[in-house]
Each structure stands twice: as C-alpha cells, then as structure tokens.
C-alpha cells in the first residue's frame, strides 16, 4: 500500500448500499430488475393458468385485474428498464473509454429511487390490494369512484419515485456519452450499443416528464379531490390518454433500442465482421428515436380523434418500418459471408431477428386505423406487443447478458445450460404468443378474466398456457446457470469472444478505475483496429498516473428512503410522514451540497486486477 492510496474501507452490505461505482450499480440494477422480472413472471404464470380452461375460477376477477395491472407495470417499469440500465451502466463507460460516469452520485441515487419506488408499488399486495386499472391506468377507471381502495395510489406514487430515478439516470448517460469519451472516440466511432444508450437516454429525457405530469394530475384527482379527469366537474379523460401515450409510445422504443444495440454488437462479434452499414445503423437509430415521438396517438384510434388525426398517426407509424427494416437487413448482411459462431449469446441474437420481425409486421397491421377497430383490446394486441417486447427486448437482453456476463462478473456462463435455456425459452415463447394472434382475431378480448366454452377459444388458450411452462423452464435454467457459473472456479479472460470494442481490452471484471491509462481510439471497433495492426492492446493516450475516484455515499439510499416514507404519508393522508420523509430527503440534499467530496486516489503501483465482486 502506498501512502497515496486511500481505498474506501467499507465492505459487505455497507459497500453495496454506498457504492457509486457504475459497474456495481449495474450489478445492483441487474439483481433488483431480475427480482422484479421473477415477480412479473409469476404474475404472468398465474394469468395464464387462470386462462388455461374456460370458466376457471383459479384467481377470480378481482385478483385477475390486479395481476394484469401489476404484471404490465412490473415488467415495463421495474424489470425491463432496470435490466437495460444494468447493461448500460456496466458497459457504456467501458465502451467509450471512460473511467467513470459523469455523475456517480446521481447514478446511485437513480438506482435507489427506482428500487424504493418498485418496492412501494409491490407492498400494495400486502396493504389492501394491488392497483387494478391496467398498466395504462386509464381514467375514469382509475379514479376513486371506480378503483376503490388505495391500489392505484400505490401505482401513482411508486411510479413517480421510480420514474424520477430513471430520468436522472438518462441525463447521466447523456452527459457521460457527450463529455467523457476517450480521445479519438468520435460519435461516428461509437459502438452501436453506446449509440442506442444515447438515443434511449434522450427519449427518457423527453418522455418521462409527460408521464410525471400525468401521474401528478391523477394523484391530485385521487388524493386531493381535483377534477382533471372527472367529466362531471368539467374534467377530460382524453388528457390522461395523451399524456400517458406521449410517454408510453417512446417508452417502447426506450426498451427496444438498447436491444437493437446489443444485437448489433453480438451479431458482428460472432460473425467476425464489422457491422454492415454502420452509418445507416446510426441514422436509423436516431430516426426511430425521433419518429417514436410522433406516433403516440396510434394507441388512441378508437378514442374518437376523427379520420384526419387517425390517418396521420397511422401513416407516421408505418414510416417507422423503414428504418427498422434497414436495421434488419444490415444484421442479415453482417452475417452474410461471416465466420459465424453460435454460442448462446448469438443464438438469442439470431432468434431475435425473425421474432422481432413478426412483431413489427403485426405492428404495421395495427397501424391501419380501420383495421385497428377490429384488433383493439383483443389478444391480437397482446400477441403483438409480446412479440416485440419479449421476442425483441427480452431476447436482446438475454443475448446481452450471455455476451457481457464475463465482463460483469469475471466468469463465462455455462454454454450447455445456456443452449438448453435458449431452446426451451424460444419454443415456449412462440407456443405462448403465436396462438394469441388467432385468439384475438377470433374476438377474445384482453383484460377479461375468463372466456366461455364452445367459442373455439379452448385450444389456443390451452396451448398458450403450455408455452409458458417452456419459458418458465428456460428462466429457471438461466438462474441455475448463473448459480453454477458463480460456483465454478474458472475465471474469464479479458477477451473471451475475440471482441472488437474497447470493453474487451481491459480485465474481466474491470478494476474500479476501468482503464489504467485512457486509451487512444483509432477507428471504429477500436480494439479490432489494434488487433489488425498487430498490437497487443490499446495504445494509451496518457502517461500512467494517480487516479482520482469519487467516494461512496449512503445519501442516495437515505434520500430515496425519505421519498419512500413520504409516499406512504401522501397515500394515507398522514402528513407527519410526508414531513419526516421530506425532511430526510432535503437534509441529505443539503449535506450533499454543503460537503464537498474530496474522493480518493489510486496509485498506479498498486493497480492489479481488483475488480467488482458479486
């Protein structure tokens, strides 16, 4: 130990509660998001069991409403987004050659806000009933008159807290990517995953404030007797729909763009070729991000906006098929003539392509307003969006997890278990959701807790439920794989896949400062460029020197806990609790502002392969 180094002394649980290291925060996001994924999955399983046979009363109507609401809400806000954030946190700074993110403290705060918001929503199960107005929480259904009890209040307050966390996380990524790239890492040399993280963060920044406002208005209506959505008092329910979907449609691109980014990395690495049409990929990503904002009202064709609005929003929606098509062809052309390998990561990536394409095609069908009157609120829609978000995003996440697991944890996931998990999940997925297209076309409505015999809906529903068992087995195998891998003693090399981008140039898992010396980037696929030039690794852009790191802090945890307490206070009109929570929140903010963080230094002599541990 040299005299210069002041390593943080925390260990164990205290270390995780106070960490501001983006790699550890990535792991926290993965664990918490994974946990909520399981909760949402169990909810899905129960929904499907209830629908296995006609006229079942396994859970009943009331619980069914709670289950679909919590399933949708959990999956979108508490499972999918956090796991994306897990990968973005773990990988983006490495891909751009940065030592850290722009705001490590804010990064930790973002995580804890999400976590406490998610816990708040889920405690509703034990405190008088979960939200039951659907994940879209449409007024008037979500107002006090129709949704009695405090279920929807949990939804409103929990999402508000979690959403705040997402928003500041998005800003953090934007600043990190704009300001902290290594020398030579121009925008047009950035890996596609980083590009997609960039565009996604931009979407978060402009989409989340809309739902923030929507949630505030709904909260005022429910808790303080305001009249935004109450038609009897001059309110207007369509305002909720607009605010919700101005956020909600970009949200699906917030989910899918990172998956696109992952697929680009994985397909190119395992084809041993540079990504075909890189600049058109960048352009397509940005264009999809932009168009994602212009089409929200395609969720409202049946609201009565009139033919002109319907036509315009329908056409704008169809336009998105163009950049998306460009991406699909570029992936195919990347594989074309490549030396393709099929480890599990690439199986998921290749499985993604046709599956997502099917989801995209049903999307174009839905964008025809006249046809949507037929599909609206049927299982056709359920089939469509699960093809997109499970077949697209979840496959993408699995591909990313198998691909980057060695970088995050220093161990390569077991391939045999991985392949079993892929095939059971893949087959289970198509068995579950493919029949739902036909169920929908035959008129089976979504969000209804049962169906009648003798309408030809039995077979499709039965198969659909069987499929869920496949996905369940696939998920269990994945968890088993994580466990087996953690137990095994084999450590991953720095570059297990013969990778192309910067993250593979440093040890697995990376030391806390990421790069001992900031690398000099000399082209797209920075590491590959060096490999082709016959170099052992990256050329450093700076001399070896002492590295300054921010110190950990418990404040993000406490601040989020403060809002968590205040949330309950609002819900139960206990203003003492609101006061206590807010005092905690603002005092922590004050402490943060008054006390400058000197951080600590790591001296190059003691740099070894100390990495994150989990």
């Amino acid at each position: 130990m040299s005299a210069h180094a002041h390593a943080p002394k925390r260990s164990g649980i205290a270390d995780w509660l106070t960490t501001v290291d983006h790699k550890k925060i990535g792991i926290l996001y993965l664990i918490a998001g994974g946990f909520f994924f399981l909760a949402g999955g169990i909810e899905a399983l129960l929904i499907r069991l209830q629908l296995m046979y006609p006229n079942l009363s396994l859970v009943g109507a009331k619980t069914f409403n709670e289950l679909i609401t919590m399933h949708g809400t959990t999956m979108i806000f508490l499972a999918a987004m956090p796991v994306i954030f897990a990968l973005m946190n773990a990988i983006v700074p490495l891909q751009i050659g940065a030592r850290d993110v722009a705001f490590p403290f804010v990064n930790a705060l973002g995580f804890w806000l999400f976590f406490f918001g998610g816990v708040l929503i889920n405690t509703s199960w034990f405190l008088g009933g979960a939200p039951d107005a659907g994940w879209t929480s449409y007024a008037t259904l979500a107002l006090n008159q129709y949704s009695k009890g405090s279920g929807v209040d949990f939804y409103v307050l929990g999402l508000q807290i979690a959403g705040l966390g997402t928003l500041i996380g998005g800003i953090n990524f934007l600043v990190t990517i704009i300001n902290m790239r290594a020398p030579g890492m121009t925008f047009m040399r950035m890996p596609m995953f980083t590009w997609s993280a960039f565009v996604t963060s931009g979407l978060i920044l402009f989409a989340f404030p809309a739902v923030t406002v929507g949630l505030v208005l709904l909260m005022f209506d429910r808790l303080f007797g305001a009249a935004f959505f109450n038609p009897d008092m001059g309110g207007n329910v369509v305002i909720w729909q607009h605010l919700f979907w101005i956020f909600g449609h970009p949200e699906v691109y917030i989910l899918i763009l990172p998956a696109f980014g992952i697929i680009s990395e994985v397909v190119s690495t395992f084809s041993r070729k540079r990504l075909f049409g890189y600049s058109s990929m960048v352009f397509a990503t940005a264009l999809i991000g932009f168009l994602g904002f212009m089409v929200w009202a395609h969720h409202m064709f049946t609201t009565g906006m009139g033919p002109v609005a319907n036509t315009l929003f329908g056409l704008a929606t169809m336009l998105i098929a163009v950049p998306t098509g460009i991406k699909i062809f570029n992936w195919l052309l990347t594989m074309w003539g490549g030396q393709i390998r099929f480890p599990t990561a690439n199986l998921f990536a290749v499985g993604f392509i046709p599956t997502f394409t099917i989801g995209g095609m049903t999307g174009v069908m839905l964008s025809i307003p006249a046809a949507d009157y037929q599909y609206h609120d049927t299982y056709f829609v359920v089939a469509h969006f699960h093809y997109v978000i499970v077949g697209g995003m979840a496959f993408g996440l699995f591909a990313g997890l198998y691909y980057w697991w060695p970088k995050m944890f220093g161990k390569v996931l077991n391939e045999t278990l991985g392949k079993w998990s892929f095939w059971t999940f893949f087959i289970g997925f198509h068995l579950t959701f493919f029949p739902q297209h036909f169920l929908g076309l035959m008129g089976m409505p979504r969000r209804v807790f049962t169906f009648l015999p003798g309408q030809n809906l039995e077979f499709g529903n039965f198969i659909s439920t069987i499929g869920v068992f496949g996905m369940t087995i696939g998920t269990i195998l994945f968890l088993l794989n994580a466990y087996v891998t953690a137990k095994s003693g084999k450590r991953a090399p720095a570059d297990p896949w013969d990778g192309r981008t910067l993250e593979w140039s440093i040890p697995s898992p990376p030391p806390e400062y990421n790069f001992a010396q900031t690398p000099l980037v000399r082209g797209l696929d920075a590491l590959w460029v060096e490999k082709m030039a016959g170099n052992k690794g990256m050329t450093p852009a700076e001399p070896l020197g002492s590295i300054h790191m921010p110190s950990g802090s418990i404040l993000p945890f406490l601040m989020s806990g403060g809002l968590f307490i205040a949330g309950y206070g609002f819900m139960y009109h206990k203003y003492v609790l609101v006061g206590i929570g807010m005092v905690i929140f603002f005092s922590c903010m004050m402490i943060r502002s008054l006390k400058d963080d000197p951080g600590y230094h790591i001296d190059p002599v003691e740099m070894d392969e100390k990495g994150v541990k989990a």
Binding site: L174, V213, N236
Partner: protein, 208 residues
Amino acid sequence: MATHHVSTVLPDEPEKATLEGKNKILGFWLFLGGETVLFGSLFATFIALRDQTNGGPTSQQLFDMPLVAAATLILLTSSLTSVFAILALHKHDLKKMQVWMTVTVLLGLCFLALEIYEFVHYVHMGHKMTSGAFGSAFYTLVGFHGAHVLFGIIWIATIQLQTVKKGLTVVTAPKFYLASLYWHFIDVVWVFIFTVVYLMGMIGGKVG
C-alpha cells in the same frame, strides 16, 4: 493527498474550468429540456381545461392586471439581478456577487408572497383546486411554478451560505452559474404563464 495544489488564481470562467463543472452545466441544460416538457404538458392541460369552470368564477372575473403585472415585474427584475451576480462572478468579485444574489432571493420572496396572497384571494372568491377542472388546472400549473420559485430561493440561499465559508472557487462557481440558469428558466416559464394564463384569460371570451 499532497499532489494537488489549489491555485489561488481563478480562471476567467471558473464555472467551466473543471470537467465536473462542464458536466454539471451540460447536465443542467438537459434537465431544463425535461422541465420544458413538464411545463409544456401542464400548459397543454391548462389550455384544454381553462373554460371548464363548473359553475365557479371564470378567469375574467378572477384575474386582476395590477397584481399580475407587479408579480411579473418583480420576477423579471430578479432575473436581471441574477445576471449582475454572474457578471460579478466573472470579475471574481465575491462581495458584489453575494449582494446581487441576495437581492435576487429577496425579489423571489416578494413574488412568492404576492402569489400566496393571490391564491388566498381566489379561494375566497370560490375558485379552488376542487371546485372544477379550471381550478385544478390553474393551481397545478401556477402552483408548480411557484414551487419552483420556492426551490430556487432555498437553493440559492444554501449556496450563498457556502461562499461565506469557501469563497469563490472552481467548485462553488458552477453552482451559482446553474442556479442563475435555473432562475432564468423559471422566469421564462412565468412569461408564458403571464401570457397564456393571465392575458389570454383576461381578454379571451368564452371559447366554443
């Protein structure tokens, strides 16, 4: 730790002298982009609901030019004084900066006092959060702005305290710069509120 030496000479634009400072400023601009969407959504809601008085007083009956004009004048002046503060910062004149920032905070407090008076007055006239959609939309939009003003006041006051202890450094300078950006933003939002809520509410007849 001995490797840093804190230079006593401040650079010309101390708020942008470090990477932390640059990051903060960029992050703050982005944050203001998000705030724009937030206020945009509130404005849209207000415009959709402003005639839904549910039998309560209309905006023509409520609003009163002298009061709103005074509030506007005060807030616009406070933006100007915060500009003076930043000019002083760039001259590294700590005393002057503190004075101008204090004036800014005081003007902000005057504005808030007027707003509270205004709200109380309206409630007496039967215009409440719960009296109809117009009331809900009005108090939410204008109240959100007011809450922003309050937050700004507390924020600036806190960093004022810091300069008493720490003086003007590359750490405190970005904080003032951001606070003044924030203050201008609040002011711009108010100009829109003045136009959309008050002016349009006073002259516009019932639409539709």
